[in-house]
Point group: C2
Amino acid sequence: MELRQLNYFVKAAELSHFTEAAAALYITQSTLSQQIRQLENELGIPLFDRIGKHVSLTEAGSVFLLHARQILLEVEKGKQAIQDLQHLLSGDLRIGVTYAFTSFLLPALATFPVQYPGIRMYVEYGTTQSLEAKLRASELDLVLAFHQEAFNKDLEMLELFRSRMVVAVSRKNKLASLKKIPLQRLTGMDLIFPSRGFSARDSLDEVLQKNNIQPAVRIEMNDVHSILSLVEKGHWATLLNERALLGWKNLVAIPIEGRELQRRAYIIWQKGTYRKKAADLFMQELLKALPDMEK
Amino acid sequence: MELRQLNYFVKAAELSHFTEAAAALYITQSTLSQQIRQLENELGIPLFDRIGKHVSLTEAGSVFLLHARQILLEVEKGKQAIQDLQHLLSGDLRIGVTYAFTSFLLPALATFPVQYPGIRMYVEYGTTQSLEAKLRASELDLVLAFHQEAFNKDLEMLELFRSRMVVAVSRKNKLASLKKIPLQRLTGMDLIFPSRGFSARDSLDEVLQKNNIQPAVRIEMNDVHSILSLVEKGHWATLLNERALLGWKNLVAIPIEGRELQRRAYIIWQKGTYRKKAADLFMQELLKALPDMEK
DNA sequence: TACATCAATCGGTTTTATCAATCAATATCA
DNA sequence: TGATATTGATTGATAAAACCGATTGATGTA
C-alpha cells in the first residue's frame, strides 16, 4: 500500500468514475485501474463494484474510504508541521550566553519573540566551557561567548566584536581617574575574580602567568552580577570584559596596557548539523545591534 | 512521499543507525540512505544530522517522526477495519423480504445476530417489485421473494423452495372443509386481495386473465397481516402463498387446482457486485432451515 | 598508525508505475 | 433494432525509480 494508491482511490471514490478520476489525477485510466486493483488485492477485498459501465463503492470501499481520507489528512498535518517549522510558526530555540553578552543579547531578545510568537526561547547563562559542552551535545542551538581561537574542529564560529579586558572599579575608588593601568599594578589591588571556568578568568590566568604576576585574589565568585554589585560599593576591583560593564553607571572601566588582553566575541554553533531557521534569523537579529557597538 | 519512505524513516529514527535500520528492513544501507534523502528533499528540510559517524534526528526530524508514526498507525487502523469486515466483526446487512417469508426468516434472524454481534441488520418488508428495485440500487444486500422467472439479466437467484397458491379461509368458514378448489369457484367468493405490486397478486392476475375469470374483489389491501386478520374473522377469503399462512392457527389453506399456481421462492442478490461475507453467512443460516420445510 | 565502521555515492539491474492502443461490455441514440 | 460512444479491463512497450553491490571518504578506535 502506498500513499499514491490511496490518493487515486479517494479520487475515484469521490467521482465514482475511473476515467474522470484519472483525468483529474493527470494519469491514464489504465494506470488508475491497475493501481486500484493492486490496492484491492493487497486488502484482499474489492473496493468497487464494477457493474456494467459504472463503478460504485462496496461496503469495504466505503469503510476504507474513511480511513484513506484520515491517512491523507495525517500526511497533510505532517507536512504542515514541517512548513510551520520552516516558516517559524513553531519551534524551539535554545541560546547559551556568558554574562558579558547580556547587554548585547537583550535588544534581540526583546524584539524577536514578538516577531515570531510561535517560537519558544530558552536562554541559559553559563561559562564558556559549560555552554560549549552543551552545544556539542546538541542541548543548545547557539552560544554567545568569548573565545581564544577563531577556529575549532567541530564548532562553527562567527566573530561579532572585540572587547578589551578592563579593570572595573567604582567611581568612588581612588583608581577611578586613571586612564590606563599596567599589568604589574594589579599586584597591590584588592581583587574579586570570577571563578575558574569563566572565560575572562581563564584567559586572564594565562596572561598573568606568562608575565609572572600573582595578584592577591581575595574573593572568587561564580556570579558576575554579584561581583559587580560588590565592586560598586567602592573598595574592590575586578577584571572583566569591557562589555560586561555596560549599564553599570557607577562603575569605571580602566583599560589594561598590552594588546594581548583583547578578547574576541563569537556566535558559536555546531558544525555539520542543520542550523534551524529560527537560529539563522535570531543571528540576523543579533547582528543588527552590531553597528551600534563601534565606539 | 510514500508510506515506504515513512516506514524506513521511522525505523532509522528509532535505531539512530542507518546500517542497522537497513538490515532490520531487509534492504541495503544504500537504499535506505537514498529513500531518506528523497524524503528530506520533498520536505525541504533535513530529518537527520549526519555528524561524524552517527546520525541523530534534527528538530524537524523529531517533529516529523511523531507524524510519521501517526500516519502509519492510521494505515494499520484502516487495514484492521477491512479485516474486521472480512471476519464479520463489523458491517451492515440489509435484507428485503416479502411477507410470505416471515416464518422462514425468523429462525435465522434469531440466531445470526447472536453469532455475529458486530453486524447491524436491517430488515425491510415490501413488495417484490419495490425490493428488487432497491436491490438494483444497492440499497439492499439480499432479497427473499417469489419470482416468475428463474433467470434475470442482472440479478443472481437461488431457489429456496416452492409454494402453492392457496385460498385462505377461517376454520369457521363454510369452505374450510374442502380439499381442493377449482379456479372457477373463486368467482362467487368474497375476496380480499393483496394490492398490485405484491407478487402473489401479480401472478394471480396473470392466471386469472389467462383463464378468463374475473372474481369479485371486494377489498384490496397492501398489508398481508391485516388481510389475514380480516380473513380470520370468518367471512372473507383471500389468495396467498401457502407459506404466508404458517403460524395462523385459525386459518385453513385450500389448494387451488392447476399446477401453474405453484410459485418459486428465491434468495436474490445483485449480479456482479461483491457479495458481503455477512450476506454469504446469513444465506447459509437461512438454508439450514430448508430441510425442515419439506412437508 | 592501522583498522573497523559508518553513511554517502556510483554504476548497473530489476521492478514497477505509467502510457497508448485495444478490447469487451453496455448505455444511448437514431 | 442497429450504429455509435463511452465505460473499465487488458496488453505490450517504455520510462521511472527502487534496489543492490562495490567503493569512497570521514571518523572513531585499538
